[in-house]
Subunit: 516 residues, 2 copies
């Protein structure tokens, strides 16, 4: 059994562009606990108040599988742990486990800590021993371990021995700068294992695009704990990606790291975390990317049906993913019905599931893409429910972008829509044509649907498809709309970018109006 130590909530949030609220962090932690990881590192309580709040709220939750860990550094040079603010914050977090990071590399002892080699050993041992005496499980993160080992292997081992004396249950060797290669990691772990005979872990960064391989090499050489993040999120090039490490451990190295039956939740967990972090899921991620098992059609397909393993390295079902070739032909109906449930639509209320599927296929052939536009899928299904009535109907629109010397550029839109028997005709301006169109539509609907004012266009993506083959290019537009914390995506496609935007906008607004 290998321990999976998740640091998405601490090291993962160092990625530029991620900002998690306390509620976001709790949602992710609960989902990781459900998945069955061994440790969840919640944050660095000494570094910011948001992390302290997380630990306070996490304390009384019913964790099933995971132990919550708080992260911090050794106490200050020259002082003791008992009057160190950082160590105090670790204790106050009230977690069953504490992870303490200390210096391995002589360069950092002299240049960053600016102290002696002995003093560094003292603060490692004392900090750990103090936390251990308060009944905490203690994990030791040896920062820059592999660089330190290259510079001075003897001193690097001394720092680990200090941690063992302090009561560390696991010594985690960190490739902090991410520069190591797999065979270097493997050799070093084996040597440290031979020298100390103490449980080892590994914490890798992806600066050489080797973090997954490095983590696996460490386990291959005897490490029993792997630290990493969901989807490999982390500073610079990211941390070791647990979504690639976990399946490799279970399916290729034949060692367990999750409870029975949990591996197949990995795809969903990866997408859930991306969504909560408000990052587009990377479709090309190993195992959990939407494209990871997407096979092109043609001559391969027949051979693949006979012998699927001959064209894929693992069975995608094992990680909850699907082979894409099969999707459109066989399992689209099931997917669609489970999506209906996700959106609170009773599956048997959809008059004709086949009609929805056919419409999706026809629209995809015209350039729509529904993978990231679930609200458009929900609208297609709702329009098949008996008694469904559109909240408004388009009569006319007109969008104007004008540049006038002396006045600059401005965008205006006119919209004429019908709501019931009434025709509403109004205009608005905006930063660009789509912004103006959105504003005009909201203005037209506000009398009948006051809640339309709460809708907010939060993202707008355009892709031009097939602009190269002499035929007219198709423009695909994805719109993200928001109402408070809720956010949904819709799609439109057309030769005309404004029409594509209008199609996506109508779905986005209709979906938003139906929200409670």
């Amino acid at each position: 059994m290998i321990q999976i130590y998740d640091t998405t909530l601490r090291d993962g949030t160092q990625r530029e562009g991620i900002s998690l609220s306390c509620e976001d962090k709790l949602r992710i932690a609960r989902r990781l606990d459900e998945l069955g990881v061994t440790f969840i590192e919640g944050g660095w309580p000494g570094s910011n108040p948001k992390d302290a709040e997380f630990f306070e709220r996490a304390r009384d939750l019913p964790w099933k599988h995971a132990k919550i860990a708080a992260f911090g550094s050794t106490c200050r040079v020259g002082g003791g742990p008992e009057d160190d603010a950082n160590i105090r914050a670790l204790l106050d977090a009230g977690t069953p486990a504490c992870t303490v990071v200390g210096k391995t590399w002589t360069l950092h002892v002299t240049e960053v800590l600016r102290t002696t080699f002995d003093e560094n050993l003292r603060i490692i041992e004392k900090s750990l021993a103090y936390l251990r005496a308060q009944g905490r499980r203690v994990i030791y993160d040896a920062e820059h371990f592999f660089d330190g080992w290259r510079a001075d292997p003897g001193y690097a081992l001394e720092t680990l021995r200090a941690a063992v004396r302090g009561g560390a249950e696991t010594l985690v060797l960190c490739d902090t700068n991410g520069g190591s290669l797999p065979w270097q990691i493997g050799e070093t772990v084996a040597k440290v294992q031979a020298a100390l005979g103490h449980p080892l872990g590994v914490h890798c960064h992806n600066d050489s695009e080797c973090a997954v391989a490095n983590s696996l090499a460490a386990v291959h050489a005897g490490a029993v704990q792997v630290q990493g993040t969901v989807n490999g999120y982390g500073e610079r090039c990211g941390n070791a990606n647990l979504c690639s490490i976990i399946p490799a451990l279970e399916l290729k190295l034949d060692v367990r790291c999750l409870p029975d039956g949990k591996l197949s939740e990995l795809y969903e967990v990866a997408h859930f975390v991306a969504e909560v972090a408000n990052l587009a899921p990377d479709e090309h991620l190993a195992y959990v990317g939407r494209s990871a098992f997407a096979h092109k059609g043609g001559i391969h397909v027949a051979a693949m049906r006979r012998s699927a393993t001959s064209y894929q390295h693992v069975d995608p079902e094992r990680v909850g993913n699907t082979m894409r070739v099969v999707v459109s032909e066989l399992s689209g109906r099931g997917n669609l019905l489970s999506k209906a449930e996700e959106y609170g639509i009773a599956p048997d209320s959809i008059a004709d599931v086949g009609a929805v599927l056919n419409e999706i296929k026809a629209l995809e052939a015209r350039g729509f893409a529904f993978e990231a536009a679930e609200a458009s899928v929900a609208m297609l299904m709702r329009r098949q429910q008996p008694g469904h009535r559109a909240p408004f109907e388009l009569v006319d629109f007109l969008v104007n972008v004008e540049h006038r010397t002396g006045r600059g550029i401005f965008s205006e839109a006119m919209v004429k829509v019908r709501v019931g028997e009434e025709v509403l005709h109004t205009a608005a301006e905006g930063d660009g044509p789509v912004d103006a169109l959105t504003a005009a539509l909201q203005k037209a609907l506000a009398g009948h649907y006051p809640q339309v004012k709460e809708l907010h266009l939060s993202d707008y993506k355009v892709r031009i498809l097939d602009g190269q083959h002499g035929t007219a290019a198709v423009t695909r537009v994805l719109i993200d709309m928001q109402k408070g914390p809720r956010r949904w995506s819709t799609v439109g496609a057309s030769q005309n970018i404004i029409e594509a935007s209008w199609i996506a906008l109508v779905d986005a607004v209709e979906y938003g109006l139906a929200l409670a």
Copy 2:
């Protein structure tokens, strides 16, 4: 010296969402040649007419460093290479090198080829020998090599021996399903090397997120050729990423693979290929991502200034990247002047190079990206030449997109421009707003500049930047324009998509009017 074999133009284009025109492929190939890779695989001439066109146009270009390779499979079971359409297409490509893929895995011989083990050996040997006899350098890609080796190492070696008899100069072991781990690759390469003593290469896929580590493990074990793609583009989870492999080879394994001084162009090449492929560059890629050396400020910065290597695994300058903390340094002057020469602009005719550089920086901060928009750079420089006069000046424009019940959607544009003393005021319609605007501008200019009618808007790419941070999103537009066989790219950016398009359009038209 390790051979770098780039297959971005063949295997890389298998990635969903990439579609390269023949012109795009030639631009990428020329850039790769400039970088100094050993081989550029241009495509599979037997599989589609676009690839055949690439080879036809590539044949007479002055390649500096790279040999162009054409890819194809062994001849058909039961037949000979001399009357095989696929082998014929390989020869017709007229490239110095041909890469032939054949079966290694017994399962594939019986289930996919549906033939005998001996017949498979025969078609490997005969296909290679035939191409060799026609004077081609022949590289052999052993498909599913590592799976085949696990199933039947004896037969796997037999297939390689058949390739050696056929005259293969390099035997490339392919991890086609991407399921292998680094120590497995290393051991296998070492054993094959010991058994055959023939030059080996490696071709990895990233399905286990180990393609880079696997490629490096193969070199560590003796392989002399690495196949991969720029940015790791490729089917499913991608191919081995040359942008991570090349710097690891040169900086960590201390083996050369590019000509002197070329490694520092890697960042630019990675971004250039992403722009041409119209994919957002992944900011978190190792070495070449914009975030790869982005260090957070705070307490680290002071320590990092004293000892930069203590916080980064390699010096970012070596790959043309920069440490983000130290952002705004004045490099780029040399780059700009060599770009001027490329565009036939005498460097000393530019009145103020510093002004051009400053303008580029200011515009990039506003969302422009000049990496793939050389004609916009050329225009910035020309506007600094003494005596330069713009061929026309904008007075007003107006773009209209209208949906009217019963008539559908239509787009019109009005343009008013000044040429010399004359004001031209006209209108046109189009498939969408930008198409209409282009048509109106061409109509307005046709009297003074009849050659404007030969200009043709051949591609139009849009990206929305920064849609998430509460600030207004910026739209970046790239326009490709063509005149006969010549093609050039320009960029515009603005909050308003129509204004962004206009900016790019003006550069594209001005550049086109100045062509002989």
